[in-house]
Symmetry: C2
Subunit: 246 residues, 2 copies
């Protein structure tokens, strides 16, 4: 007959086995795709495109949110060549690495801005964006960054959205893309895209939720005192709505 | 007897005089303080402090909003010396001018960030901030930038607010300041201060309303697809509220 100690021990072991099975099932149930666990030892590698005439909040809204994750992410800025570029009406910011030297990224972010108006016709830039985008598991555009991504052809046949005031111009850069007029952001799998400027911050938190879970995304929003619009369908600036009263 | 032409002329002149009086009265009624009209010829001169360890959105949220005004504003970044500084977890950004060479500003903005933790004890920095703040008609702090401003002593006896998670530390830097625990931002006249990180963007739009009027502020929010929290008393992260559910 087993001793009290043996019975206690087997009870604990059985409990631990049950908890492990339960935890695994719970994870399977709540997370549709199994993602790697990012940590200081294996940080989420994010590349942020920069160019002359980038829109400041397109870049720094997402970087603020991802940056809050500390050493669980590594952030590198990428461009046609290392050096300083200027946003419209703001200070110069450093491109740290050439697009051709991006290395293996987990997430590549393409911001918008007035600079995209000429870059859509820059064959070297579009080719470099295509190469990096093909090599990266997840690519996100913000605002008119969607025009650059559309020019690679990689969005053809996929749903996407973009800045609402520059909508027609962006559509003209990718007529085969399935552009959505009412969406704060669209996540079409490998390619995600947000509406104008501020919407990139909401998309960034949605991506943080995908990579790190809901609790972490809400914690980042709390620490940045940010009221997260966490519903991709809640688009206060949708083109299908009446224009805002002035 | 006056000719038809003379009668028409005097009628037009009288109408113009009446319209001028009406317009002046209307302006007096809707704008409590007469502000200069800022334009490309006379832009609103904004100085933004930068330092190692600044918080990205503290800086680029407000700059995004002011930057949308184009040549009606001129933006210069200021610091202890020209050159590159890094935010936490983001790319280097350029300080364009020494604080001692700021020139006459209309608005001086002091962001927060992890770098403030050591800067509150940097006598040269605090002295330079005091000099620029004394010479500038309007000074705004964002987040823990309030700790730097408090260390100048210029906030003593005035109402102010700051980041909610770093509240106690900031209070310890300015025990004579009348710190408000529930406020998205506080405008105490010459000195305005916002809560943490994202709150600086809401304050920036409130300042744009002061300088350029309500229609312009709403237009900037619309063009950046930003849902402006325009009520300084609406503070979703107030310390007086229960902690957010996780």
């Amino acid at each position: 007959m087993p001793s009290l100690f043996q019975r206690l021990l087997s009870s604990v072991v059985l409990s631990l086995i049950a908890m492990t099975i339960f935890a695994a099932e719970s994870t399977d149930g709540s997370e549709p795709a199994r993602l790697p666990v990012y940590s200081a030892e294996n940080p989420l590698k994010i590349g942020m495109l920069l160019f002359d005439g980038f829109e400041m909040l397109d870049v720094f809204g997402p970087l603020e949110m991802f940056g809050m994750l500390g050493d669980r992410v590594s952030i590198v800025t990428l461009g046609m060549e290392p050096g300083l570029v200027r946003p419209r009406n703001g200070p110069a910011v450093q491109i740290e690495r050439d697009l051709g030297d991006a290395g293996q990224l987990d997430l590549f972010i393409i911001p918008g801005g007035v600079g995209t108006r000429s870059l859509v016709n820059n064959a070297a830039m579009i080719s470099a964006l295509k190469t990096v985008s093909e090599a990266t598991p997840k690519v996100a555009s913000v605002c008119t960054g969607g025009a650059l991504l559309a020019r690679t052809g990689l969005l053809d046949g996929l749903e996407a959205t973009t800045n609402k005031l520059a909508f027609d111009w962006v559509v003209s850069q990718g007529p085969q893309v399935l552009w959505i007029e009412e969406a704060r952001w669209v996540d079409a799998g490998k390619f995600a895209s947000s509406s104008g400027v501020s919407a990139g911050t909401d998309l960034a938190l949605a991506l943080i939720e995908q990579y790190f879970g809901r609790v972490t995304a809400e914690d980042v929003a709390h620490r940045t005192e940010y009221v997260w619009n966490d519903d991709p369908h809640n688009d206060p600036f949708a083109r299908t709505l009446e224009p805002l009263e002035k």
